[in-house]
Assembly symmetry: C2
């Protein structure tokens, strides 16, 4: 247990999008079947040195929006709102932990707000000693997007995507796998545009070119929010960590990617 | 929010025993009515600068025992046991958080295993920045006895009582309130011995005298486990922090003590 640097472990960081494990159409509605299936895929892939991060979906997002948690502490009413937003995230996380542990996966959740403080929304302090120990001991640490304390704003929302990027860079991850509810990164939103084309492979340069194109239509993210996620992951990509975007709503896809097998996906690499 | 030391806040640390909020006679059985009542008492007392710590009762204890978590990491099977023990504690904590937040208390749980590492069972690292910020912002931080990582043992059990003592000393607490399922500290177990006499007031010297008497019957704790709790709190008492032991199973007692009113209880003071 001693003397082993985490950079030697080169963990895989797997993000499970909130839209995969919850139904975004209805508040506090979990997709238990998807959660159970993903727990099985994670168990069956048997990847060593894995860190899982999940999103908030219909648990965290509606409350965060209702109480404007991202904007910070303003009045007493949004103080209870912060409590509530964090609490529902622990409930969603608890359901996922249940699915994993029930299947004999030695998973341990790490509560972001208990060990991370942000400054203007960006991670500033991260007490990662428990996370490092868990990985070294062969546990599966699970984190999630959370309502966290912020040195400037009082509190704010820490997205699962920022967490993934920072974790991967801190721990010199081997790869980042982003499990979402579409097949990859498209040039338009595949849920509304039937002609949307999926990218199979993108380099940093190609991504920057794409970004300048997308920036022309600044009012909204034409890729259905996917491009925003990728931008959050750019620091990790620059660090040389490949990012694989895969459909986690389709059975077996996450497991295959974890096992290093090829499935329909978008691969983003430094060059 | 800035520049205010926590020693100026002088928080009250309230421990709620696992035997109060769970039924120790049945595994994973919560006493929801007691939990709801205590949430109301905490809300109605309206104490500023309060930290709550709760025990594990029939959630944490049976699993911790089954997998011998206190003895540390031994084999793969007790690794999943660690996951399970921590997980059920988060479930119990979640029920309590629900009871508090539902009643508009701005409570935020702090996961001990996410910010504390022990060494041979004693707290060695404690990243307390989130806890400090929560208190300064007027939140009610809630912690609990937990399965935590340990630098020597791999992992172990951190009791709520050790947590209370360390928190109170770190934060120079005004007082410690220990809510249990009996009226105070007795010279024998009041649940089995009808002639057991309750102490109303004890100084450190009197406590030491009592300890030497109790040590003569070393095989078990004749006070029904209560004396062991008090010994854990001795460092805080030596620090000058008064400890009030009160019956949290009796409606209104915790609220009255929080409000500074007199109820049947045992007061332990330095001198």
């Amino acid at each position: 247990m001693k003397g082993l640097g985490l950079s030697e472990l080169k963990p895989t960081v797997l993000k499970i999008g909130g839209s995969v494990i919850t139904d975004k159409g209805e508040e506090l509605k979990v997709r238990m079947q998807a959660m159970n299936r993903l727990a099985e895929e994670i168990r069956d892939a048997g990847v060593q040195n894995l860190v899982v991060v999940h999103g908030g979906g219909s648990f965290g997002h509606p409350l965060a929006q209702k109480y404007a948690i991202r904007e910070g502490f303003k009045e007493k009413v949004n103080r209870v709102g912060f409590s509530e937003t964090h609490h529902v995230m622990t409930v969603l996380n608890g359901l996922f932990m249940d699915a994993l542990i029930w299947r004999n996966v030695p998973a341990v959740s790490i509560t972001p707000s208990s060990c991370i403080i942000t400054k203007n929304g960006r991670i500033q302090c991260f007490e990662d000693a428990p996370l490092r120990m868990l990985l070294k001991m062969g546990f599966l640490p699970v984190l999630y997007g959370d309502a966290v304390l912020d040195k400037e704003l009082g509190f704010t929302i820490l997205s699962g995507d920022q967490l993934v990027s920072v974790l991967a860079t801190m721990f010199n991850a081997e790869r980042i796998i982003i499990g979402v509810d579409v097949d990859g990164l498209y040039d338009a939103d595949p849920k509304v545009d039937k002609n949307a084309k999926m990218f199979k492979h993108l380099t940093l340069d190609e991504l920057k070119e794409l970004q300048s194109k997308l920036d022309k239509s600044k009012t909204y993210d034409v890729t259905g929010g996917m491009f925003g996620k990728i931008v959050e992951l750019l620091p990790a990509t620059k660090h040389g960590i490949p990012v694989i975007i895969v459909n986690a709503a389709k059975p077996g896809y996450v497991q295959k990617v974890l096992e290093g097998k090829k499935v329909k996906s978008t691969l983003v690499e430094k060059e």
